[in-house]
């Protein structure tokens, strides 16, 4: 009986320690969210979403260009990053049990470890210098490269999770292999892959460093892909290092919007994953 009491005391102690650790880990996240929300709310207004950046002192300044720019850049990133990433993932899962597959897997892992600013410099030397100017296109390429390894490895993992019995079922019906992969394997893995894509987009939406060399920034309204384009992270950076109170407020508001976007993407991804579990 005594031993039992001792055991349950240790159990309670360990549980308390774990709860404390969780709370401790949540402190930075919660305080960050609270701080950004508190600071950002005052800067939010209709003009934030409709107006263009204005010189200090003029009323109704906003960053409609940066909000749009971030959406365009993320869209471009998906365009460049998703198709090759998904296809590479399929290759690795279905045909990649060889030396070439190993090499691709290894390079993807290395690429996902490369600091994003290095990707920025790479695209700068490759595209920006060649095109003689910053452009949204270059920004999209940089973000796409950052997405690529994540998309590849998630797709691979999820395609691998599709049971072989489904592949066999399709093949035994006289379906050619490529069709079995596209219509059965991919279809079965689709919700999971979509979740992975949303997480990759969430990660890339807040990237600042690679955009500094590529999409740069733009004070004006522009959706011309060959021209510099504003984005929320870069705009936050620009405003935050300025000495003006009004710009600081707008930077906080932009930070809030960006965090909300990323959170919404994450929550959406999780919801999708959740809904797929019960049938």
């Amino acid at each position: 009986m005594d031993r039992y009491r001792r055991r349950s005391a240790i159990d309670r102690l360990a549980k308390a320690a774990c709860v404390a650790a969780v709370l401790l880990a949540l402190v930075p996240l919660a305080s960050l969210l609270a701080y950004v929300a508190a600071k950002g709310v005052s800067g939010l207004s209709l003009s934030f979403f409709t107006g263009l950046p204005k010189p200090v002192g003029e009323p109704d300044g906003g960053m409609v260009n940066a909000v749009t720019g971030t959406l365009v850049l993320v869209g471009l990133a998906c365009l460049f990053g998703v198709p090759p990433g998904v296809m590479a993932g399929i290759y690795l899962a279905e045909f990649g049990d060889n030396r070439f597959g190993k090499a691709v897997r290894f390079s993807a892992d290395v690429l996902s470890g490369v600091p994003s600013i290095v990707v920025g410099i790479f695209v700068y030397t490759l595209l920006v210098l060649w095109m003689r100017g910053f452009s949204a296109l270059a920004g999209g390429v940089a973000l796409g490269i950052i997405m690529l390894p994540t998309v590849t490895r998630t797709t691979e993992e999820l395609v691998r999770m599709v049971p072989d019995s489904l592949r066999e079922a399709a093949l035994a019906l006289g379906v050619p292999r490529w069709k079995a992969i596209v219509r059965v394997v991919l279809r079965t893995a689709a919700p999971g892959i979509l979740t992975g894509l949303m997480l990759a987009v969430a990660r890339v939406a807040g990237e600042t460093a690679p955009l500094l060399f590529t999409a740069f920034n733009n004070r004006f309204w522009s959706i011309d892909l060959s021209q510099p384009m504003a984005s929320m992270p870069v705009q936050i950076f620009t405003y935050a290092v300025s000495p003006y109170e009004e710009w600081h407020r707008q930077a906080w508001a932009a930070a809030l919007v960006l965090v909300a976007m990323v959170l919404a993407l994450n929550a959406g991804a999780r919801l999708l994953l959740h809904r797929r579990a019960p049938r």
Binding site: P163, L166, A169, L171, L173, G174, R183, V184, R279
Partner: protein, 277 residues
């Protein structure tokens, strides 16, 4: 169909009374393996098997685990080579034409020789209806009279009455036995000439097993069936002919009645009387 719902017979000699009537001898060979060898990597799993399977008859393949019976079955519609490192050698004649011959497309072979697997494997993302039509739909075949086709397939698989009101539900929502009959319907919708069944009842309870065995019996009126089973009573109940495989070799083949009552080879006798395996 007295052999269906009755209690499991433990003695294969007794089961014989329940077996289908002895098959007429004039049945033609639909499928014939000649010197069939199969490898997994460097391991020889089938050591040269020659065996004919008669048209509109049920041929059972029995033998202890690892004897190569599933491998043999999978060689009959070129599914063996799908696994990594697997290959086969020898000839398999379908209506006299070697399916391993040069220029033969395995995809076409599989449309004529359908397969039902050990574990039911309906497509979880598809409705019951789409599962049945999957063979045609995945192959991009435009279907006229779609409704008639899948109703016919489901009826042949003895599943229609149970699912006709829930055709839009997921194929994974059915019970195990229903899933197995759904997989049969899916194979039957392609109107195959041969149906290969790889231990189709091993994951099913006795009632579901009886339904599938009934199904096998009915299907044999129209097509050639090869069934792998580790259940000797089942082999005795459903098949006209039985082949006993051991360690990758064909030990004995005969009419089911004969093999279970007067086995020629001592190994066969030991196996069917339960002394090993």
């Amino acid at each position: 169909m007295m052999f269906l719902g009755g209690p499991r017979r433990e003695d294969p000699a007794q089961g014989r009374e329940a077996a289908p009537r002895s098959a007429p001898a004039q049945a033609v060979e639909k499928l014939r393996a000649e010197g069939l060898k199969a490898w997994f990597g460097a391991t020889l799993a089938l050591k040269g098997i020659s065996l004919g399977m008669k048209e509109r008859r049920v041929t059972a393949i029995i033998g202890p685990s690892g004897c190569g019976k599933s491998t043999f079955l999978r060689c009959l519609n070129r599914m063996h080579e799908v696994a990594a490192g697997a290959r086969a050698e020898g000839r398999v004649l379908l209506d006299g034409v070697d399916i391993y011959g040069r220029g033969v497309d395995p995809v076409q072979v599989r449309r004529r020789v359908g397969m039902v697997f050990q574990k039911p494997n309906p497509f979880p993302t598809m409705s019951i209806r789409d599962n049945v039509l999957a063979g045609a739909k995945l192959n991009g075949v435009r279907l006229r009279e779609e409704d008639a086709l899948f109703e016919k397939a489901l009826r042949r698989a003895a599943l229609w009455e149970e699912v006709k009101d829930v055709l839009a539900r997921s194929g994974a929502s059915l019970s195990g036995g229903q899933q197995q009959r759904l997989c049969s319907a899916r194979a039957l919708a392609l109107d195959p000439e041969v149906l290969l069944m790889d231990e189709p009842c091993s994951a099913l309870d006795p009632i579901a097993t009886a339904r599938v065995e009934e199904l096998i019996h009915e299907l044999a009126e129209r097509l050639t069936i090869v069934i792998v089973t580790h259940n000797m009573q089942q082999a005795a109940r459903v098949s006209h002919y039985t082949a006993f495989l051991y360690l990758g070799e064909l030990v004995e083949y005969d009419e089911t009645d004969v093999l279970f009552t007067k086995p020629q080879n001592p190994r066969t006798e030991e196996y069917i009387t339960g002394r090993f395996g």
